[in-house]
């Protein structure tokens, strides 16, 4: 068993980064995620593992520092919250285009605009539909506990290097701020220069005589060439859709109705299940863990076993579009959401199930 600690979600992210063998963190303060960099600065990972931590002048700079670091094969990450992630979108698109691995963390707060510093899930569209310009996808992981905040740092790095594409942890202000017990994984040493060059032969690390120069770019001025780049990206996304879908079901075996929710909303739905079952309503939960690749087949299959689905999100109805595309029109699928930083309580979710799905 690994080391147990009581930690905030944001701190778990930071500690996991050091333990995952991360080479560099670049970020800019924003509530509700500033503890990530604060924890790192306090922890001095440059002494523990040699990891670089730098407070950049903006999120625009942070994401481009990631591009630079990732382009040399380094394991780099940033964290921010919604407005900061919006600022990073150009850089994220460049990284997807140049096929660079990196870990991004969005501790979402309510928007639009400066919005609120309270938790929200309103950045779902931005995360899974591209966000920046061009045809690209991110690997999007949605943790629902502090434990998963830690675990998904490692998973996110693994997947991003496996597919040479940025991975995003889409969390929210509540999971970032709340404290829970975490079992930390054992530290993995940072890669040596030789290991890095072996793992990332494409990286710009300094050209030895015996290979061509490596170029990191997202530019191809020739349309035929740029179409090939796009086809390559799409082929990669297809493989991810086949192989990397993650989800969880809770009390779904005998369920007549289903909640579909990710992250914090899924935690709330677990409580709603207990309340509903006490009233005799057989409801279960389907929780997508990878929001991209989305569990399309799995939702299609499970939707055939239930009478109706309530999609619960802390937004005005975003993931429900993907649920409807996956499940089709055979059963009733409705949305229940609170937004602007309000967390729904389990009772109102049950009431919404009764009114919108069972009674409606």
């Amino acid at each position: 068993m690994g080391e147990l600690r009581l930690m905030k979600g944001n701190e778990a992210i930071a500690e996991a980064a050091i333990r995952a063998g991360c080479d560099g963190y670049f970020g800019y303060p924003i509530t509700p995620q500033s503890e990530v960099m604060e924890y790192l600065m306090m922890e001095k990972p440059y002494e523990r593992t040699g990891m670089v931590v730098l407070q950049a002048e903006s999120e625009v700079a942070s994401i481009n520092m990631l591009y630079g670091g990732a382009g040399t094969g380094k394991m780099v990450m940033t964290s921010s919250s919604s407005p900061g992630i919006s600022l990073m979108q150009e850089g994220i698109s460049y990284m997807a285009g140049a096929e660079l691995p990196a870990l991004l963390v969005n501790i979402v707060r309510g928007g639009p605009g400066l919005g609120t510093i309270q938790p929200s899930q309103a950045d779902y569209f931005q995360s899974v539909k591209g966000g920046g310009h061009g045809d690209y996808r991110l690997i999007v992981l949605a943790p629902a506990s502090v434990q998963e905040m830690s675990d998904f740092v490692k998973l996110g790095f693994d997947l991003s290097f496996k597919y040479r594409t940025p991975a995003l942890i889409l969390s929210d202000g509540a999971i970032g701020q709340m404290m829970e017990k975490v079992e930390l994984f054992d530290p993995i040493p940072r890669r040596t220069e030789e290991q890095l060059i072996q793992q990332c032969p494409w990286a710009s690390t300094g050209k030895p005589k015996n290979r061509d120069h490596n170029i990191i770019t997202s530019l191809d001025l020739d349309p035929a060439g740029q179409e090939r780049v796009n086809l390559k990206l799409q082929a990669k996304y297809k493989v991810m859709e086949e192989k990397e879908v993650l989800y969880e079901t809770i009390q779904a075996e005998d369920a007549e109705y289903l909640f579909i929710a990710f992250g914090l909303s899924a935690r709330i739905c677990q409580k709603s299940i207990d309340l509903a079952r006490a009233k005799g309503i057989k409801v279960g939960l389907f929780r997508p863990i990878t929001l991209y690749p989305f569990p399309v087949k799995e939702i299609a299959a499970i939707s055939k076993k239930v009478k109706g689905i309530l999609v619960v999100e802390m937004n005005a109805g975003q993931m429900i579009e993907d649920v409807r595309l996956a499940a089709g029109c055979a059963i009733k699928i409705e949305h229940y959401g609170r937004f602007g930083g309000i967390i729904p309580n389990p009772d109102e979710v049950v009431k919404a199930l009764e009114q919108k799905i069972i009674g409606g």
């Binding site: 670089v52 625009v60 670091g69 040399t72 710009s204 120069h213 170029i215 990191i216 770019t217």
Partner: protein, 270 residues
């Protein structure tokens, strides 16, 4: 004639006084004939070769006419987003402290959209080299006004000349960053004459040598021509540059070994 020449056996190693460095890829440059970009590419690559550091160097190219610099420079490179080269270089140099890292940027890239990245990399005293090609215009996008466009100078977005009342004043980024404690060597050069090329190359050499001592930013501005954007012949553009650009952007060292130099450049600020 050329063929005949090639066959002559005067082409022996001991007779060669000049040859293209192998660090330039053997392919046609994408620059207009007469443009300064190609010359600066060459002297950077010659410098790396003379210092034997090509296998330890990582370059960052900009968005601008030199966006394809990575196709011409036969070293490992990264193409940055518009203006962000200093952010890339910051991370690269911090995580690869034993590599030589440089950025290559135009004036729109470095002094407009990338102002924040430029100033903060300089202010943090990152230990890399910045090469700044100031041609007073946005060459790549077709000759629009740049932050460095001279007062009354015409461009496609200041067709009646830059009116400083409404379009602002030209920005002397080099003098500005020289004020920051994080810069160690700041100089302004030009490559329009053989003497200028030699001086610029010396400056670039110094800027790379400084990286060995981790002294902070070494910054080489090259005042350059954009004959296409300025709508002149190459010869006219070089003359115009001497008569108009140099009085506003005087050549010479601005900061050496971390100390500001009293030169034409600093005096001209007054």
């Amino acid at each position: 004639m050329v063929e005949q020449f090639a066959k002559l056996d005067i082409r022996k190693d001991e007779n060669i006084v000049y040859k293209r460095t192998d660090l330039l890829v053997d392919r046609p440059l994408s620059y207009c004939p007469g443009c300064g970009h190609g010359t600066v590419h060459r002297i950077i690559m010659e410098t790396l070769e003379e210092m034997s550091i090509q296998d330890k160097t990582i370059g960052v190219s900009p968005v601008g006419c030199s966006v394809l610099a990575y196709d011409f420079m036969n070293i490992d490179m990264l193409g940055a987003a518009h203006g962000r080269a200093p952010a890339l270089a910051t991370a690269i140099k911090r995580m690869w402290p034993d590599r030589f890292v440089f950025t290559y940027q135009g004036d729109g890239d470095l002094a407009a959209i990338g102002t924040a990245e430029t100033i903060h990399a300089c202010n943090r005293g990152e230990h890399f080299t910045m090469i700044f090609i100031n041609n007073g215009i946005y060459g790549m996008t077709g000759g629009q006004m740049a932050p460095t466009t001279l007062p009354n100078m015409r461009s496609s977005t200041s067709p009646y000349g830059r009116d400083v009342e409404t379009m602002g004043f030209p920005l002397k980024m080099t003098e500005l960053i020289a004020q920051l404690p994080g810069t160690y060597y700041v100089t302004r050069q030009a490559v329009h004459t053989p003497a200028g090329v030699r001086k610029t190359k010396k400056a670039i050499r110094k800027a790379f040598e400084n990286q060995k001592n981790k002294t902070g930013i070494s910054f080489v501005e090259v005042v350059s021509n954009c004959n296409s954007g300025w709508k002149m012949t190459p010869v006219q553009s070089n003359k115009w540059m001497e008569e108009n650009m140099f009085p506003f952007y005087p050549l010479g060292d601005i900061k050496v070994d971390g100390k500001l130099v009293e030169t034409k450049a600093t005096a001209a600020k007054e």
